[in-house]
């Protein structure tokens, strides 16, 4: 049991107000009384939530407890954000996913740093990075790592030298590999794919989805270690840029590094794309339904093969901003020949677990609903307001699906 916290059961009336307040899922109401679990970190956030004062703390003052739980001695240490040079290089297409995600991670770091009263350091390697963009997105300073060896090793050595408060990167592409590799070399914990980061004093509390999004976990770094965090690239995207902001660029020379050899790039030609900075080949992939992040579903109400084909156009558009997109179809749509059999959702028990499922003209047979039951956010577009499927949707657009599709294709997403 946590040493400094206890539930006073004579005071607790089991109202449950503390349960959502706890960032660590350590509180629950069992048989009419709150129960505090082992996972309590004594952060004190729950104390003010209790209307009856039933949460007893050894210190008696919740804010003091919260402050004391911080990492101690890390004051003034900045929050690092690793940004691959290529992500913001001159060659990177404007508004491309990688750049948006990299800037989004800076935006998150900026808000954390403001809350904690510290600085944001954008860390990059090589010369590719557009430093003005990094400052505009929230960096106070930019470190350019220089030295022999691979980037993960350079980053790990720089972390050892400069001891930042935390190291953040995007859970995608090169950043994902570099941050994971650096964490390994630094002997540090890494919370991968966080979609929510809260601050408690100087401690960062990232949350991440597990088991296909069915559960959420709070991960804690062992005391005294610098936490590494990679962020879900789709969640942290909004950033308030300020082009007037500037800062200092520091070239950090790193010596004596070990670790993996650098990746060689393949020669261009023979129809293959090269790994030149920013020069990634962008092409439409045939994403299997169970691997897609976004699934677009079409049903009988679309009415024609032409209307169904609009789904593929929307998929193309969304894949530029939202990752892997797949098009699925109800049995009626497949039988009508609008979609290939591989696209069938109903009754095939395909295990889709997309972040977003958008259904167009789907009436929602149980077989269909079961196939998409694990989707995180569900949108149903149908003029049939009594559709079974609307009962499980988060957002319902009560219009003819074909018309909404046309409108969606007109908007810049």
């Amino acid at each position: 049991m946590p040493a400094n916290f206890r539930i006073l059961s004579e005071k607790c009336d089991g109202c449950g107000a503390c349960v959502p307040a706890c960032p660590f899922f350590a509180l629950e109401v069992v048989e009419g009384k709150a129960v505090l679990y082992e996972s309590c970190l004594e952060c004190g956030v729950c104390v003010p939530s209790c209307p009856t004062g039933a949460i007893w703390t050894a210190g008696g003052d919740s804010s003091a407890v919260a402050g004391a739980s911080g990492g101690g001695g890390s004051k003034g240490r900045s929050i690092w954000v690793y940004v691959p040079g290529a992500a913001l290089g001159a060659a990177a297409p404007a508004g491309a996913g990688a750049a948006a995600a990299a800037l989004g991670s800076l935006g998150l770091a900026r808000s954390v740093a403001d809350e904690q009263g510290t600085r944001v350091t954008a860390v990059t390697a090589g010369d590719g990075a557009d430093t003005a963009a990094l400052f505009a997105a929230g960096a106070d300073e930019v470190f350019v790592l220089e030295g022999e060896g691979a980037v993960p090793a350079l980053l790990a050595a720089a972390v050892a030298q400069e001891t930042p408060r935390a190291v953040i990167g995007v859970a995608a592409g090169e950043a994902r590999e570099v941050v994971a590799g650096a964490a390994a070399l630094a002997g540090a914990p890494l919370v991968a794919g966080a979609d929510e980061v809260e601050c408690f004093g100087e401690r960062l509390a990232p949350k991440r989805p597990l088991y296909g999004g069915r559960f959420r976990a709070k991960v804690r770094a062992a005391d005294g270690l610098i936490p590494f965090i990679t962020l879900d690239r789709h969640v942290f995207r909004s950033v308030r840029t300020d082009p007037r902001r500037t800062g200092q660029v520091r070239h950090l020379a790193i010596r004596g590094t070990a670790g993996s050899q650098p990746l060689a790039t393949a020669p261009a030609g023979a129809g293959t794309a090269t790994a030149a900075p920013g020069g990634a080949e962008v092409r439409r992939r045939n994403v299997p339904l169970d691997a897609a992040r976004i699934v677009l579903g079409g049903g009988a109400e679309l009415g024609s093969a032409e209307a169904f084909a609009l789904l593929y156009r929307l998929a193309d558009r969304l894949s530029a901003v939202g990752g892997d997109v797949a098009v699925g179809a109800t049995k009626e749509a497949v039988d009508a020949g609008w979609a290939p059999r591989e696209a069938l959702l109903d009754g095939t028990m395909v295990k889709t677990c997309p972040a977003l499922y958008m259904a167009f003209g789907v009436d929602g047979s149980p077989a269909h609903n079961a196939a998409v039951a694990l989707a995180r956010v569900v949108v149903s577009v149908t003029a049939k307001a009594d559709s079974q499927f609307c009962q499980v949707a988060d957002f319902i657009l009560p219009y003819a699906p074909g018309r909404v599709l046309e409108r969606l294709l007109e908007i810049t997403i």
């Binding site: 049995k331 059999r341 069938l344 009754g347 095939t348 028990m349 929602g364 047979s365 149980p366 077989a367 609903n369 079961a370 079974q388 009962q391 499980v392």
Partner: protein, 383 residues
């Protein structure tokens, strides 16, 4: 008593489960409409070893025990019944006839291609006037020189129209009949005088074909007498005992799938403002389904286990065949009831399962015959 499923059979059932979900379920409706299993799917099943699993490795089989075979058919039974009706008669009846009753030379010759699925087998016992009364068959075999000449008609032979090898049971001594007068013959497609008659139109089991087989002075070489002359009826009875376990296992798998679909539907179908699963009437049906399925499953596993121990299973096999097939019919009926209107529609698999299930109480020995076997065993002197 240990109810743990051996690790290799857990792997086996997961493989079959994945195959069912990924390969078979997506084409089930198409098979239903076209009344044919695509040949490439049959080839895939053959490559995975579906056609020879309980036979020893030296004959190209998978060396899977009866329990493993039951688990296999339970998983396969979750999909459209036509798939297990392709495999089970081939394995449980035709190939098993060769394995149980055949000479070493016959096993060497026929088992490897049959296990590999290169040669499909059928089991031909039933006749127009000999269904439950199997000993009353009229097909005759007469020795002429070094050949046997077969004359007669076999009815409702599963896979008969596409089989390469047919195990034909014929009368070789009218006076002895079941007590040494029936002999089994290995008849290959193309033997002179053997042809396929009408292919039957059935209530269900689309994609699986039963046919009439005609033998008109059909010539069978001496070496194709399965085992010894006069041993046919004994072989048939032994084969059918083992086959009943497989039938029960498939019934359990099919019923389990219907229960899962019913739970899914009950949870999503909203009437009077709430899922119908909230109604006690629905809950009781689901509970009854689950209870009967579990009972049949345990009987199946236990009978398979006894078979693997080399124990006599005649009564157990009869009990599990009758119980599991009746269970499957109860479950299918409740599944239709829970689904309501949609359960009666062709577009949804419930209606198909309801039709397909009905045959389970009839073929491989009617449930009335099973009860005769059970009662005879119960009343046996010295029991």
């Amino acid at each position: 008593m240990d109810f743990t499923i051996p690790q290799e059979y857990e792997i086996l059932r997961k493989m079959v489960h994945d195959f069912v979900v990924e390969r078979l379920d997506p084409i089930s409706q198409k098979v239903e409409e076209e009344d044919e299993i695509p040949p490439e799917i049959i080839k895939e099943m053959a490559e995975l070893g579906f056609f020879g699993l309980p036979f020893p490795e030296e004959y190209g089989g998978g060396a899977v025990s009866k329990l493993g075979y039951a688990l296999f058919l339970e998983e396969l039974g979750a999909s459209s019944a036509c798939f297990s009706n392709l495999i089970a008669p081939h394995v449980s009846l035709a190939t098993s006839s060769v394995f149980i009753g055949g000479t070493e030379a016959q096993k060497q010759k026929y088992l490897p291609p049959m296990c590999a699925g290169e040669k499909l087998g059928a089991f031909a016992l039933t006749e127009p006037n000999a269904g439950s009364d199997a000993a009353n068959i009229e097909t005759r075999a007469e020795k002429k020189g070094d050949k046997w000449i077969l004359n007669g008609t076999k009815n409702w032979i599963t896979n008969g129209s596409i089989a390469d090898v047919v195990i034909v049971y014929a009368l070789t001594d009218k006076n002895l009949r079941a007590r040494g007068g029936i002999t089994a013959f290995i008849v290959e497609k193309g033997f002179p005088g053997f042809r396929v008659g009408t292919v039957d139109v059935k209530m269900g089991l689309r994609g699986s074909h039963t046919a009439q087989l005609l033998f008109e002075n059909c010539e069978v070489p001496e070496e194709n007498v399965l085992g010894e002359v006069g041993m046919g009826f004994l072989t048939a009875m032994k084969v059918l005992d083992g086959g009943r376990i497989g039938l029960a296992a498939g019934a359990v798998g099919g019923a389990q799938r219907l229960l899962e679909l019913s739970i899914q539907w009950a949870n999503t179908r909203v009437q009077f403002g709430q899922p119908i699963a909230n109604n006690q009437a629905i809950q009781w049906m689901l509970a009854d389904m689950a209870m009967e399925i579990e009972a049949a499953r345990l009987m199946t596993y236990k009978t398979a286990w006894k078979y693997d121990q080399g124990l006599k299973i005649t009564r157990d096999a009869a009990m599990v065949k009758a119980f599991a097939s009746e269970m499957a019919c109860h479950v299918a009926d409740k599944a239709v009831q829970i689904h309501g209107g949609i359960g009666y529609m062709r577009e949804y698999p419930i209606e198909r399962a309801y039709r397909d299930t009905r045959i389970l109480k009839i073929y491989e020995g009617t449930n009335e015959i099973q009860r005769m076997i059970i009662a005879r065993d119960l009343l046996k002197v010295g029991h």
